[in-house]
């Protein structure tokens, strides 16, 4: 098993922390993991992306040409990484603000509206966990939820552990959003 994922969006949408929670969940599930961020001025806006690789074996390159799964949370990311989904791979994108939708037919495309779902939960900050729910549902490699919860615990500072149930709820909500285009 090896799953190569990139998540990209605006700085502040939480792609880096979502990637971190995913990486920790994989770690708790006894996988080799690599988490590689684009780093720099993204925290102040602009685009941010994170590559997460989960594997049974030693991971070679943290830098990839193509991905099993691409998560694009804005038009720029969709344009950049949409063409880089492997044939037969998965593209999840947030339809919010998207004017040019993907047209590939050789991959599974899942449009989601994660912000509406987060607002339904009454917590816009849960946005990235909604997206993560959709991702977990789409992945062929299924990480048991108990290991995702362990991953949440590991990646959140202890003072935020009271937020774990909210995050779990968001992940579960995100799972239900996944509908093929």
């Amino acid at each position: 098993m090896k799953t190569e994922i990139i998540a990209a969006g605006f700085g502040g949408q939480g792609v880096l922390s979502m990637g971190k929670i995913l990486a920790y969940s994989g770690l708790m599930d006894d996988k080799e993991v690599t988490w590689m961020p684009s780093y720099g001025p993204e925290q102040r806006g602009g685009t941010a992306n994170v590559t997460v690789i989960l594997s049974d074996e030693r991971i070679s390159s943290p830098v990839l040409d193509t991905y099993d799964i691409v998560i694009a949370l804005n038009q720029q990311s969709l344009d950049k990484f949409g063409p880089r989904v492997k044939k037969g791979g998965i593209l999840i994108y947030d339809t919010n603000g998207i004017h040019k939708h993907p047209e590939r037919t050789d991959i599974d495309v899942y449009p989601i509206n994660a912000m509406d779902a987060a607002l339904e939960l009454g917590n816009s900050k849960a946005y990235n966990m909604i997206v993560m729910g959709a991702l977990l549902e789409a992945m062929e490699y299924k990480i048991p939820m108990e290991n995702v919860v362990k991953g949440l615990k590991k990646s959140l500072p202890e003072r935020h552990h009271k937020l774990i149930p909210v995050n779990q709820q968001a992940i579960e909500k995100g799972r239900t959003l996944l509908k093929k285009k």
Binding site: A23, L27, V33, G40, D65
Partner: protein
């Protein structure tokens, strides 16, 4: 069992330093390595092991604090990124000339000048050919994983103390910022003053009833004596070359072509090797782990009977000079590099291999 943790390369450096029993860290923040100082400040080792952590007023001050600490036999270190490491070069030359152990981390970013904060390997020449003035060498270790970031702290200090010579960990922004699984070493106690006096008889620890003072200096105005000091340094460098050369080889025996790269780029090259194999091109990988001493002999041997070598670096062509010296241009040696913080993808490396070597054959 040791707990497996997920952390950034920079964080691993900080944890490993404390666990090694490091006596002092002196640094000044700069992207992409600021997490080293941040993590040390968060872990507050002065409360536990007694390790000193100082955010100095500048890079120059930090390296001179390291010089002072090293002169007393303490295990001391500093870290910075490219522009900051340039500022440290005078101090590094003094530490090398004084035959003192110290550990310096450079998490390279794109230059020249202030450049960019994105990854680079353009300080290879600076690290292995001197950087500061005079005939000296650092022991230069190039980590490619977060685990190696942690492991090379201990290795770097051990080699520094074994040879009384500064070691440098030459990392890049990728391995500094990336998170991976890491198993940290066991916590070791810091050495006691008595242990330092015993293990470092040269250290400026006070006279302690000794007849002669220990003097640590890099100044010697009499040329006859200065040449003797130089010869002693050179003899030490030959010993390090003979004993401490480290490298990794993957499938070099059956290959037609070799890709040679160091640090995180070696991992991108390993993926490129897999892609090339899908197209029927047999590639072997050599990853120098010590950039000085350079694995000259290993590369010469591995190159025998090969059709060509591609050297891949995040620079305009630096390590390629040492590769060419190793093989005496007995086969084509080509370079592929990206600069300014751009990281090549595995397929770019395969394309370069085909265009620069296979198409030319």
């Amino acid at each position: 069992m040791e707990e497996i943790r997920l952390m950034k390369g920079n964080e691993a450096i900080a944890h490993a330093a404390i666990r090694y029993g490091c006596d002092g860290y002196f640094g000044y923040p700069i992207t992409p390595q600021s997490e080293v100082l941040e993590t040390l400040e968060a872990l507050m080792p002065w409360e536990t092991t007694g390790m000193v952590v100082v955010q100095a007023e500048s890079e120059v001050a930090a390296i001179n604090m390291v010089y002072g600490g090293a002169a007393t036999g303490k295990a001391v270190m500093t870290s910075s990124s490219s522009p900051g490491v340039s500022l440290k070069q005078e101090g590094i030359s003094y530490i090398a000339a004084s035959s003192l152990p110290a550990l310096i981390l450079n998490v390279m970013r794109g230059g020249p000048g202030l450049g960019t904060i994105q990854p680079s390997q353009a300080d290879y020449f600076q690290a292995v050919k001197g950087g500061g003035h005079g005939d000296y060498h650092l022991i230069v270790l190039a980590p490619s994983t977060v685990q190696e970031m942690a492991d090379f702290v201990g290795l770097g200090f051990d080699l520094a103390f074994k040879y009384c010579n500064p070691s440098m960990i030459l990392a890049d922004g990728i391995v500094g910022q990336m998170m991976e699984k890491v198993v940290l070493p066991e916590q070791r106690p810091r050495r006691t003053d008595a242990e330092i006096r015993e293990q470092c008889p040269w250290a400026a620890t006070g006279r302690e009833g000794r007849r002669k003072r220990n003097v640590v200096t890099s100044l010697e105005l009499e040329s006859d004596k200065m040449e003797i000091i130089n010869n002693q340094l050179q003899a030490k460098y030959r010993e390090i070359e003979a004993n401490e050369t480290r490298w990794e080889e993957i499938d070099t025996a059956d290959a037609d072509y070799l890709i040679i790269s160091f640090g995180s780029v070696a991992r991108i090259s390993t993926k490129a090797k897999e892609l090339a194999e899908d197209e029927g091109i047999k590639v072997g990988i050599i990853r120098p782990i010590t950039l000085w001493p350079f694995p000259t002999e290993a590369i010469r041997k591995a190159a025998e009977g090969k059709k060509g070598i591609l050297v891949v670096e995040l620079n305009a062509g630096q390590m390629i000079e040492d590769v060419r010296l190793a093989v005496h241009d007995s086969l084509p040696v080509k370079h592929f590099g990206r600069m300014g913080g751009i990281i090549p993808s595995p397929s770019e490396i395969v394309t370069a291999l085909k265009e620069k070597l296979i198409a030319q054959a």
